[in-house]
């Protein structure tokens, strides 16, 4: 017999940066998930991101890892694009999926919460594991995004070395992350996929490096869903 105690039956999914956003007076998403919709002035945030740079804690997003020698075949068989070192987008029965080809035998699928992903289990040599909580997804957007990352990251992130949708494995602030260029129209943007435990440290490090550039926190209103 279950006794309902307090909020036991009302789970709340929380960003690893919940406390940081709370200090920044975030307004939370309408669905209750503890990710910021904005910080009180969405138009000012958008303007700052267009003219300098903005940092977004994207989420909540679901993440599925597909790994093993049969991963590429399983993904392509399900009509999900798979290109190692690149992000592919897939539209299957609705919302957009991002397929990050993080290795020749490994992909991470990012989607809005609850979006149904085709069944990829079955073939031998493929493991499909839900890692929705594992990664924090930070997006650095704006004309100065590349300059800010250059302060923290040894990799060449220039437009030739890293064209749009290119994935790079590199340290950022001495944390091993998966980073991808993911421009928003004409505005340069980089998405950092980092283990969630480092989220606070990375947020502070990026904000510190970005202060001279005028970097501001920006809510999810600018990034939309996956």
């Amino acid at each position: 017999m279950t006794t309902t105690v307090g909020n036991a039956n009302r789970p709340v999914r929380s960003s690893p940066l919940e406390a940081v956003h709370a200090r920044l007076m975030a307004r939370w998403r309408a669905d209750g998930a503890r990710w910021p919709l904005d910080y009180g002035n969405p138009s000012a945030e958008a303007a700052a991101a267009q003219s300098a740079a903005g940092l977004i804690d994207r989420g909540p997003l679901d993440k599925l890892i597909v790994q093993g020698p049969g991963a590429a075949g399983a993904l392509r068989g399900a009509s999900l694009g798979f290109h190692p070192g690149r992000i592919s987008y897939a539209l299957i029965n609705g919302p957009k999926l991002q397929v990050w080809g993080v290795a020749p035998d490994e992909a991470i699928i990012l989607s809005a919460p609850g979006v149904k992903v085709p069944d990829l289990t079955g073939p031998q040599g493929v493991a499909v594991v839900n890692l929705s909580s594992s990664f924090s997804v930070l997006m650095l957007i704006g004309p100065d995004a590349r300059g800010i990352l250059a302060e923290l990251c040894p990799a060449d992130l220039g437009p030739v070395a890293v064209p749009d949708l290119q994935i790079v494995h590199t340290p950022v602030a001495n944390v091993r992350v998966t980073l991808a260029r993911q421009d928003m129209g004409a505005v340069p943007a980089f998405t950092v996929l980092a283990p969630r435990d480092y989220a606070s440290y990375l947020w502070e490090s990026v904000m510190h490096a970005g202060a001279p550039f005028g970097l501001v926190p920006v809510g999810n209103h600018l990034a939309g869903e996956a």
Partner: protein, 460 residues
């Protein structure tokens, strides 16, 4: 004389003749001892040379004062922002609100203590305690060959582990040295959930992948450490707490000791392991980390009227010592094999082969030279960890852990001693440690757990 700064005996004589005959001024003038080794090679030599030249003794002149940095530090490391990564668990802010004292464990921040060891241990032994164990390394192994692979990687056996059960694991390298321990739970026919110690995850993951590289085994190793936040709920009232948070049958019949169950806790999907590092009825609950703070809040709310309290690493260290549960890397070192560490029961020599088998066969045939044993302090004081155990002035062993146990009202610990001394009641002479002028205390060996030696409380 000073290789780093290229200072010779002649240079020192010259400096003294120029009036720098005080050791401290001689150091500053000649830069002897001030190079990258920071005096490690020339500190005492330079003092003796100076004493000889000035016709004094080192007892009279003394030594120069050692000051930090004791290791050379590049200026680049001191300039600008300190980009030293910090990892926080999903419950970090909950610990801050409880005024936790923090400790650094690698990159992780972990609560060392919330109130006092006495209060926290009392809560675990008499009511229910909760500790954040999210920092444990976690791996999922998938594939048809996962069980056989785990058999190959460990001295003990996992291919026969039933679905829904969890088993202790200790892993050895090729030389039969214990390099990690934790648990393996079987969650499906081809699905294993494995925990490692906080500090060894990367090494274990790399070790697994190294052995799988180029192999045709159907095994996928997925690091799920960041995916799961985890708590250990321990104490005689632990079942009462979890029963309020789930529809599952959590009775000892449905969820006995060493059960591994997937279900919902506090409305969140969870992996529940019935294990007890601290020696009480325990539930290790792993949930997706985005719900970690929610789980923490729900557990505290459910246990409020049952005397629930958070406990930190310091209390956990005391509680596990009462059970004589070893900590790899603390009670073992780079020479410790499972047979001499008291883990001989898990070495399955009848298996076809496993990493470290040949080395362990040698240990089994020659017999134990040393043994890891428990001890209680019968004299005054609490020996420092690392303190020597002596006999007739000679070191015969060392203390690996020693704490004051508020439950037992005495100091207890673990130590390495010659195998023939690892018998109940054997008297020991134990140095108290550095800075105690060689003072000793007395103790006696204990080979069985101090607390609940039959393990009845784990199986409640």
């Amino acid at each position: 004389m000073c290789i780093c700064e290229d200072v010779t005996v002649k240079d020192v004589k010259q400096a003294v003749s120029e009036g720098f005959d005080n050791l401290e001024t001689l150091k500053r003038y000649s830069t002897v001892t001030m190079g990258p080794c920071q005096g490690k090679m020339c500190h005492s030599l330079s003092a003796r040379v100076h004493a000889a030249i000035t016709g004094q003794s080192v007892a009279t002149t003394g030594l120069t004062t050692a000051r930090p940095p004791f290791q050379p530090v590049p200026l680049a490391a001191l300039a600008g922002p300190h980009l030293a990564p910090v990892r926080q668990t999903a419950m970090h802010d909950r610990h801050s609100k409880l005024d936790a004292t923090w400790m650094d464990m690698g990159e992780w921040k972990r609560p060392l203590l919330y109130t006092s060891v006495g209060q926290e241990c009392k809560a675990v032994r008499e009511a229910v305690g909760v500790i954040d164990v999210s920092t444990l390394g976690k791996l999922e192994l998938r594939g048809a060959d996962a069980g056989a692979f785990l058999d190959w990687m460990h001295p003990n056996r996992f291919s026969d582990l039933r679905i829904g059960r969890v088993r202790y694991r200790a892993m050895c390298d090729d030389a039969g040295i214990v390099i990690d321990d934790g648990t393996v739970a079987r969650l499906g026919p081809d699905r294993f959930f494995l925990t490692t110690t906080t500090g060894t995850l990367d090494a274990v993951e790399q070790w697994f992948k190294w052995w799988l590289a180029g192999s045709s085994r159907d095994v996928q190793v997925i690091n799920v450490t960041s995916e799961y936040a985890a708590i250990n709920l321990a104490g005689p009232r632990a079942r009462d707490v979890i029963a309020r948070l789930t529809t599952m049958d959590v009775s000892s019949k449905a969820m006995p000791y060493l059960a591994a169950i997937e279900g919902e806790v506090a409305g969140v999907p969870a992996v529940i392991l019935r294990i007890g590092f601290v020696g009480e009825m325990g539930y290790e609950i792993h949930v997706p980390a985005d719900y970690g703070a929610h789980l923490w809040d729900a557990v505290f709310e459910a246990g409020r009227d049952l005397g629930i309290a958070a406990f930190g690493i310091e209390s956990q260290r005391v509680l596990r010592l009462e059970k004589l549960h070893l900590v790899v890397g603390q009670d073992t070192d780079a020479l410790s094999n499972p047979i001499e560490s008291g883990l001989d029961w898990l070495v399955k020599a009848d298996k076809p082969d496993f990493i470290g088998r040949d080395a362990l066969a040698v240990v089994q045939s020659r017999g134990r030279k040393n043994s890891l044993a428990g001890f209680e302090v019968t004299g005054a004081g609490v020996p420092a960890e690392g303190a020597a155990i002596v006999r007739n002035g000679q070191s015969i062993g060392r203390v690996t852990s020693c704490k004051w146990s508020p439950t037992l009202n005495k100091a207890i610990g673990m130590c390495w001693v010659p195998a023939e001394d690892a018998v109940n009641g054997r008297e020991l002479t134990i140095r108290l440690g550095v800075g105690t002028d060689g003072k000793t205390t007395t103790g006696k060996v204990q080979t069985r757990p101090f607390y609940d030696p039959e393990g009845a409380r784990l199986r409640m």
